[in-house]
């Protein structure tokens, strides 16, 4: 018999550190005291009750937690809340205006671009990021002409740009169509 043990070198107790942070979430100013370890994702879900942002992997590997930070799509699971002083965060709950769905939300419904719906908020936030990135002329890994100022969002471009959002139900075909609908 062999003997093994774990965590042997980590025995002490370190006090947690709490810090105040002020950030905007869906247009509201939030002042929070957070454990320095807390991610934006966990602040949204556990402190602010904004559970629309999903936790699929907690390690930046699935995209379900995608939100818009200062207008750009980002994985909220890898962003420490404490770093966000003064930032503006928009989540899936902040997209519809006066009960009117964002065009991409409409397109997702119409194209049946989801099944279980768990990756959907991240897909939609990511899709909005993609539309904006393309508008700014950002190339992607499949863009043939890197110096082109305009990048049309064809299906291959959408597929590549949306690959940071996994969907296990396999709704990609419909997701691509929904984003193309809005891009056109």
């Amino acid at each position: 018999m062999a003997s093994r043990s774990d965590a042997g070198d980590v025995g002490g107790s370190w006090p947690k550190h709490e810090t105040e942070v002020a950030l905007g979430v869906n247009g509201e100013e939030e002042r929070l005291v957070v454990d320095t370890r807390t991610t934006l994702l966990d602040v949204l879900r556990e402190e602010l009750g904004l559970v629309g942002t999903k936790k699929g992997c907690d390690h930046g590997q699935c995209g379900a937690c995608t939100v818009l930070i200062d207008g750009r799509r980002a994985n909220s699971c890898l962003v420490l809340a404490v770093t966000l002083e003064g930032s503006e965060v928009v989540t899936i709950e902040g997209l519809a205006q006066d009960g009117l769905l964002h065009p991409l939300q409409e397109a997702f419904v119409e194209r049946d671009a989801f099944q279980c719906g768990y990756c959907t908020p991240g897909q939609i936030c990511s899709g909005i990021g993609v539309l904006e990135e393309a508008r700014q002329g950002w190339p992607s890994a499949v863009t043939a002409d890197l110096t082109a100022e305009q990048v049309p969002l064809d299906d291959d471009e959408i597929r590549e740009r949306m690959s940071g959002n996994l969907c296990r139900c396999g709704a990609y075909v419909n997701i691509v169509t929904a984003i193309r609908d809005v891009a056109e």
């Binding site: 774990d6 980590v10 370190w14 006090p15 947690k16 550190h17 810090t19 454990d35 320095t36 370890r37 991610t39 907690d58 390690h59 930046g60 995209g63 995608t66 930070i69 750009r72 799509r73 980002a74 994985n75 890898l78 962003v79 420490l80 404490v82 770093t83 002083e85 990511s126 990021g129 993609v130 990135e133 700014q136 002329g137 950002w138 190339p139 992607s140 890994a141 863009t143 890197l146 110096t147 597929r159 590549e160 740009r161 690959s163 940071g164 959002n165 996994l166």
Partner: protein
């Protein structure tokens, strides 16, 4: 995740001062895409984080000599989209765009990308031995799963690979990494930031404790306009490389006047292929001489039990990429 103190630095000197000289238990936080991940896994256990993501090193500026100065806090997405990069160093833009995902590239910084740690599965699992994580504990990858680990430059202690895409064309271009530390500023030549594992696999780079990367200066490379980064991976996107290659060619009437070649995912460092470059210089731009060049570099390989496929893969990839750049059939 172990509790840690957090501090946002106003400038690089302040950051270095906050790190307190020895750097013990203190880490700099950039985009967090690798560090926060590793902290959740218990692989990194800093007691204090110094946030450098908002330092003023956030610009991309052409230098007078035709090179490029890139701030360490520039986000990967911004560098990839930068007009000068797209025009002068297209393979750098391609490498950045082939890394991670759009939302990760929006967070990840240039400094952090250079310092990202290996994706070896054993390194990431604190319940298993790993010489890189816990020196002297052993390397299970050598006999275990190493399909995507090193075939070049590895040691008995470590067979890990460097996961960066961005660093591969940077190694091909050459330049300097600007750092500031407890004993002042210095420049580390590129390639040269990353090191082979040898007997100290815990050290990924030549950075000294407490040193902070403030930027990268890329040398001018006129012929990089004819360059390409080609990444082979298992998944069509959002995956680390199995093999990648960054190639730039200076073509003159059917002859290769000069070339730059670097491989990714083959070694503990982005692998500048000096032997291949040497073989290409002055050679006719033909598939045959491309193959000679690839073989010259890959003579040095020491594949492990399950990753010998990387040898023909790297060879074919280099030959093909050269052929495409030179517009000759392969």
């Amino acid at each position: 995740m172990r509790p840690f103190a957090y501090e946002r630095a106003g400038d690089a000197r302040e950051a270095v001062a906050a790190a307190g000289g020895s750097g013990d238990g203190v880490m700099y936080l950039g985009g967090g895409t690798n560090l926060v991940d590793l902290m959740k896994l218990g692989v990194e256990t800093p007691e204090r984080l110094v946030d450098v993501s908002r330092l003023a090193h956030d610009r991309v500026e052409p230098t007078e000599g035709g090179g490029l100065r890139i701030g360490a806090a520039v986000r990967n997405a911004d560098l990839a989209a930068d007009p000068t990069v797209r025009e002068r160093y297209p393979f750098l833009s391609q490498a950045l765009l082939s890394g991670a995902s759009g939302q990760l590239r929006n967070l990840a910084t240039v400094g952090g990308n250079l310092l990202q740690r290996t994706r070896c599965a054993y390194f990431q699992d604190v319940s298993k031995p790993c010489n890189k994580r816990r020196p002297g504990s052993g390397c299970p990858a050598r006999e275990g799963d190493h399909r995507n680990l090193a075939i070049l430059g590895h040691s008995d202690a470590c067979v890990a690979t460097n996961p960066s895409d961005m660093a591969v064309p940077m190694a091909a271009i050459g330049g300097r990494v600007r750092v500031v530390g407890p004993s002042g500023e210095r420049a580390i030549p590129l390639p040269g930031l990353h090191r082979l594992p040898g007997g100290e696999p815990q050290r990924d780079t030549v950075l000294e404790p407490g040193e902070l990367i403030t930027g990268v200066e890329l040398d001018p490379l006129d012929f990089a306009q004819r360059s390409r980064y080609r990444k082979v991976r298992d998944r069509a996107s959002f995956a680390f490389a199995v093999v990648s290659v960054a190639v730039a060619v200076d073509l003159d009437d059917g002859m290769v006047r000069d070339a730059r070649v670097a491989f990714g995912a083959l070694a503990h460092v982005p692998w500048r292929a000096a032997r291949a470059e040497q073989a290409l210089r002055g050679a006719p731009a033909t598939p045959e001489s491309f193959a000679v060049a690839a073989d010259a570099e890959l003579e040095q390989v020491r594949p492990l039990r399950d990753n010998a496929f990387k040898v023909p893969l790297a060879r074919n990839l280099l030959v093909r990429t050269l052929a495409e750049l030179c517009e000759v059939g392969a």
